[in-house]
């Protein structure tokens, strides 16, 4: 582990923590603009600041699990952002977890957020937990299949090796990666509670998933949950960029490459955010029992991508 490696690791985590609310604000800003509304782009920061200052009110019968869950979820998401090679390839933490462990990390956070929602024993909490686990159960295999396609191309499940391999190929369109890319977009919409699967801007009991999970939280606990949710969106965007558009990630062991990688990442994320907002604006929320079809399609596309790789590209 070199000094620069440790520095880039630290920089990556700090950048993720600092920029994640900005990405969420940017997406919401564009959604508002596309609907002819106006919205302050820095709203997530203000919300976090306000929530941290407020008292935390929790239910009388809430257990310690309920209070610990926001910290665990935030910890999982921070580690996830540290593993994904978004700025540099030389990451000391990347030895802790490969692509499969990354999926496990997201699953760990999901299980804790669902258990915390069931902890108080309200009808909405269990409803949210049930739906979240349902969506997670369907999305997780599809995400694994997408990562497997990339892993088979680079003959490694280590994320840094995957990015290194894909960035160093000749510029050619891989049909398997195209299928995997479509599947990945569908999975990340579902996992991040975005529009076709869940509407982040509603508290309507028939439709909400993510909001039902964090309904009982307030004050600093809610702030941590919101921050973790924006980190999750950030992490998923960075996985997408790392798998499908890995150009611009610092490979050389020099500080200047690292500093150049940051603006490139921000430009890529900005473009991705606009596309996400556009996608959300043109699609409508679907019924909860249509979600299995949606995610089943994503799973099938990912499996087809992997089979195409095995048939045509080996």
């Amino acid at each position: 582990m070199s000094l620069l490696g440790a520095a880039s690791q630290l920089l990556e985590i700090v950048v993720a923590l600092a920029l994640a609310p900005l990405l969420l604000g940017w997406v919401n800003q564009w959604r508002a603009w596309l609907q002819n509304k106006s919205a302050p782009g820095l709203l997530p920061y203000r919300v976090l600041h306000k929530l941290f200052h407020k008292d935390s009110v929790i239910a009388e019968r809430a257990s310690p699990l309920f209070r610990a869950a926001p910290y665990i979820v935030l910890g999982c998401m921070t580690l996830a952002c540290g593993i994904i090679p978004m700025l540099a390839i030389d990451l000391p933490l990347a030895t802790a977890a490969d692509a499969i462990a990354l999926v496990g990390l997201f699953a760990l956070a999901r299980v804790f957020i669902s258990l915390a929602a069931m902890d108080v024993g309200t009808a909405f909490g269990t409803l949210g937990a049930r739906r979240e686990m349902l969506i997670g159960f369907l999305a997780e295999p599809a995400l694994l299949m997408v990562l497997f396609t990339a892993a088979l191309i680079s003959q490694s499940t280590s994320l840094t090796t995957i990015v290194d391999t894909i960035a160093h190929r000749d510029l050619a369109i891989y049909p398997s990666l195209a299928f995997a890319g479509v599947a990945f977009v569908m999975v990340s919409l579902a996992e991040n509670a975005r529009v076709p699967v869940d509407n982040p801007a509603t508290h309507l009991e028939l439709t909400m998933v993510h909001e039902a999970l964090i309904l009982e939280y307030s004050g600093r606990h809610l702030a941590l949950m919101e921050w973790a949710a924006s980190l999750k969106l950030f992490a998923y965007s960075c996985i997408g960029l790392a798998l499908f558009f890995p150009w611009g990630v610092a490979e050389a062991q020099v500080p200047s490459a690292l500093l150049l990688a940051l603006p490139i990442l921000m430009v890529k994320l900005a473009i991705g955010g606009v596309l996400l907002a556009f996608l959300e604006t043109v699609s409508a929320k679907m019924r909860i029992f249509r979600v299995p079809e949606f995610l089943g399609t994503a799973f099938m596309l990912a499996v087809i991508g992997m089979l195409i790789h095995l048939l045509l590209e080996t």
């Binding site: 030895t95 299980v111 024993g121 009808a123 997780e140 295999p141």
Partner: protein, 287 residues
Amino acid sequence: MPWVGWAVLIGVLASAGLPPLGGFVSEWLLLQSFLFTPGLPNSFLNMLIPVVAALIALIAALAGYTMVKFFGVIFLGQPREEKLSQAHDAGAWERAGMIWLVGGCVLLGLLPVQFILMIDPVTRLLVGAGLGETVAASGWLLAPVSMERANYGPVIFLAGVAASFGLAFLLVRRLYHGRLRRAAPWDCGYPWQTSRMQDTAEGFGQPIRQIFEPFFRSERHLPSPFDATPRYQVTVGDHFWHWLYLPVAAAIERAAKLIGLLQQGRISVYLVYSFVTLIAVLVWVTR
């Protein structure tokens, strides 16, 4: 029941295959072996292997759902039955019985290399090859083939989550405050919440059954909204039972009935059978 609750929580996380506990290591190794199986002779079989990996991923995700259902319905929320409110925590010996199991889950998860080295002689004896040498070379990290191929460091993993947990906790306390107030649950402003309004195991698993309805023979009787004494009844059967086992059972029963015609229960009939058999054998021998 704090002791039982926390011990079961760790067990639940391990059986759901979540890092950094025991179940995840085996899931990880299984998926790795499916991904990088060195070329089988038949290309069709080669293609089939990732599809099986997909199935395993599906099963692992379903395990998470099941375990959340198990823990959430039993340990979280309010007791739905009267006698459950008098549940008490485990005694000293009962705790000891759970703690060594919890220790197993945690140690298997955190020290996979050491455990693989321990069982290495057995795999060598059975299949003639083992992971021992390659695994031992990488020390604390689990890297079954090489560091470039795949690696997983459960200790670093746990340290990473724990460090960000602790840092977040300290920073929130230091920069803001730790004020906490207890109040009635919010639940979208509905104050007459009773324990009957939360999910049962039946309710929590209902979406899965609805999605996979074609795979089951389920019959549901739903009460109407105006029912004064609503009753809900569901019977879930297995297609295989009706398509395979019941026809086979019916065929055997029919055959048994035919054979049953022979059994008249009278000594004279059985003497006739013996006599006929004797004649037949004699005819066959003398021919």
